[in-house]
């Protein structure tokens, strides 16, 4: 492999059922920051069936070039079909860096791609940078349950592939005047290798809410318990936010798994994050530390959550919550 042939950054712009996923736009933003150091361009790749209407949005968020693949076979995510499409594009355009969202799709597709392309893949990164001397991508990711951060490089293989969790990187501001080069690619698929049959997709309406979109999150931990959930919801309602929580709340069946924040849940960056009855284990903190304003309520003064909070209140949530709710309602009226 002549690694000097590989230039520029390629971002996988994920769409799901014709809806562009935020993580792709976040990655375009991050790719721009990296591309500046490399003096290279950012290419987004969009694949699906009849998805050309999404190109404009990708352009306005800063892609220099958009490669579109439209084919009926790409309508529903299929590992093999997507692998063939992306591999063809990567082999033709030879990017030095390939970024993809660590969604259920990305985490299925990316390792398959890395196997076929025989290149290195770093999963679930939370930080990316370019080493100016070597032009290498340095990908940093949490490991050992979030206790350790490891910076990974891929010196001799291209593209350098990394997946990034949704919500970690910041989009560029939408620029209505931005233009991009648009290329339609036609792929010849080998259908004999596509052996997984799609029957149907079932949308679970309770999973419709995406907490990564919420501006305000009121989160609970073990200390909230069964009787505290309703109060959590009430607080979230008056603050026009959503309820979130730790793994403990999910395991107790008090909140849906889609509302879990942390290493095995989601990474969120809301304007306001209120952590109640959450001790602040690293596994949880890793998912919420980028929130703008973090307020913690906990009875244990030594709880680690206070170390990452802007305001920590040593108190019992069950006693504070009703008063807090009343005060907010008074101010709002």
């Amino acid at each position: 492999m002549n690694i000097d042939e590989y230039k520029g950054i390629m971002v996988f712009a994920e769409q799901r059922d014709g809806v562009l996923q935020s993580v792709g736009l976040e990655l375009i933003g991050e790719a721009h920051r990296l591309a500046k150091n490399l003096n290279e361009k950012v290419t987004a790749i969009l694949i699906g069936a009849n998805v050309s209407h999404l190109v404009k949005e990708i352009t306005l968020y800063g892609a220099d070039r958009v490669i579109v693949v439209n084919d009926e076979i790409l309508k529903h995510y299929d590992t093999e079909a997507y692998t063939q499409a992306v591999t063809t594009i990567v082999n033709k355009y030879k990017p030095e860096i390939f970024l993809i969202g660590a969604t259920t799709l990305g985490r299925d597709l990316a390792p398959r791609l890395s196997g076929r392309l025989r290149t290195g893949l770093t999963a679930d990164c939370t930080e990316l940078s370019i080493d100016e001397e070597s032009r290498e991508l340095w990908s940093t990711r949490p490991t050992f349950g979030g206790n350790l951060l490891a910076t990974i490089v891929c010196p001799e293989h291209r593209p350098q592939m990394s997946s990034v969790r949704p919500g970690v990187m910041a989009k560029l501001a939408k620029n209505e005047a931005h233009q991009s080069e648009i290329i339609e690619e036609l792929i010849t698929f080998d259908r004999t290798k596509m052996k997984v049959r799609f029957i149907k997709k079932v949308v679970d309406t309770t999973k419709k809410i995406d907490i990564t979109d919420a501006r305000v999150l009121v989160a609970g931990g073990r200390g909230v318990g069964k009787d505290g959930i309703e109060m959590l919801q009430n607080l979230a309602n008056v603050l026009h936010g959503e309820v979130a929580g730790t793994r403990a709340l999910v395991e107790e069946g008090l909140i849906d798994g889609t509302r879990q924040v942390g290493q095995t849940g989601k990474t969120v960056r809301p304007d306001l994050y209120i952590a109640t009855g959450i001790s602040g284990a690293i596994q949880h903190v890793i998912g919420m530390e980028n929130a703008q304003l973090k307020i913690a309520i906990n009875t244990d003064k030594s709880a680690p959550i206070f170390q990452v909070s802007d305001l920590g209140v040593v108190a019992n949530f069950h006693e504070v919550a009703p008063i807090l709710l009343k005060k907010i309602q008074e101010i709002q009226s």
Partner: protein, 261 residues
């Protein structure tokens, strides 16, 4: 039906703490367990065995002490255990690990290969799909529910962000299973008694002969540049409220200061 289950022995990361002075991981005394997603995968295999009859082979790659995880798998009801172990395999990233495992798996007949979605120490979720790719068989990851028709087809629910996909796939194939999919059974008491007399096959480099250029530390495309623990951030203001009223007031004041309400 021949089922191969991939299991990894991992430190129980929930019990890992940071040494506050040295800022390093405290690994001493942290128990080793079968990775939870893998254990759920083994349970899936055992359920299929109960219902339809199957021969279950558990395969692990790791140092000699990983035999303990395999013994636990035998005690749960697996039929055969293989530890892929050699100094030459050490320091491997996911691609080199998958390459090594594939060299072993090619010597086994498997209708179905089951892996966990991801391991709790690395959290990469990469080895399952990479193994499927190198074996040139289809994969379905994030499996939350499985139905087997008794012949050669699996009906699968694959979890996605807003629901699930219903998929069908024929043997041979590889699936990766979520810990939530199954509550693993306990080790069987009869199995426990004889489990330490049963053989764990050790498959070393000579036994599986993988491409020496694509395994271990030197065959890994990715390298660890550095690793570090996160320093404790500057903490904000802490209010030790005299009562609930005062606590609520402190929060409201902060929210008002920043125009949140």
């Amino acid at each position: 039906m021949d089922i191969t289950v991939l299991v990894k022995q991992v430190p129980n990361t929930a019990e890992i703490r940071i040494d506050p002075v040295k800022n390093t991981l405290i690994r001493d005394g942290v128990p080793s367990i079968i990775n939870p997603d893998d254990k759920a995968g083994l349970e899936e295999a055992l359920k299929l065995k109960d219902q339809f009859g199957a021969t279950i082979t558990v395969v692990s790659m790791g140092p000699p002490q990983a035999q303990l995880a395999l013994r636990e798998a035998l005690a749960m009801g697996a039929d055969r255990a293989i530890l892929v172990s050699d100094r030459k395999f050490g320091g491997a990233d996911t691609l080199a690990t998958s390459t090594t495992l594939v060299a072993a798996l090619k010597q086994l007949k498997s209708d179905l290969i089951i892996a966990g979605r991801q391991a709790i120490d690395g959290d990469t979720a990469q080895v399952g799909p990479q193994v499927a790719e190198m074996l040139d068989i289809p994969q379905v990851s994030y499996v939350q529910k499985l139905h087997y028709d008794g012949k050669q087809t699996l009906q699968i629910q694959r979890l996605v962000e807003d629901g699930y996909y219903e998929l069908e796939v024929d043997f041979p194939c590889l699936i990766t299973v979520l810990a939530e999919a199954n509550k693993p059974r306990y080790m069987h008491i009869h199995n426990l008694v004889d489990v330490f007399s049963r053989e764990i096959e050790i498959w070393d480099f000579e036994r599986i002969k993988p491409d020496v250029n694509q395994i271990g530390l030197t065959g890994s495309p990715t390298k660890v540049k550095k690793s570090y623990t996160k320093g404790v951030k500057q903490s904000g203001k802490i209010v030790e409220a005299a009562n609930a009223e005062e606590a609520a007031e402190a929060i409201v004041t902060k929210l008002q200061e920043l125009f949140m309400i």
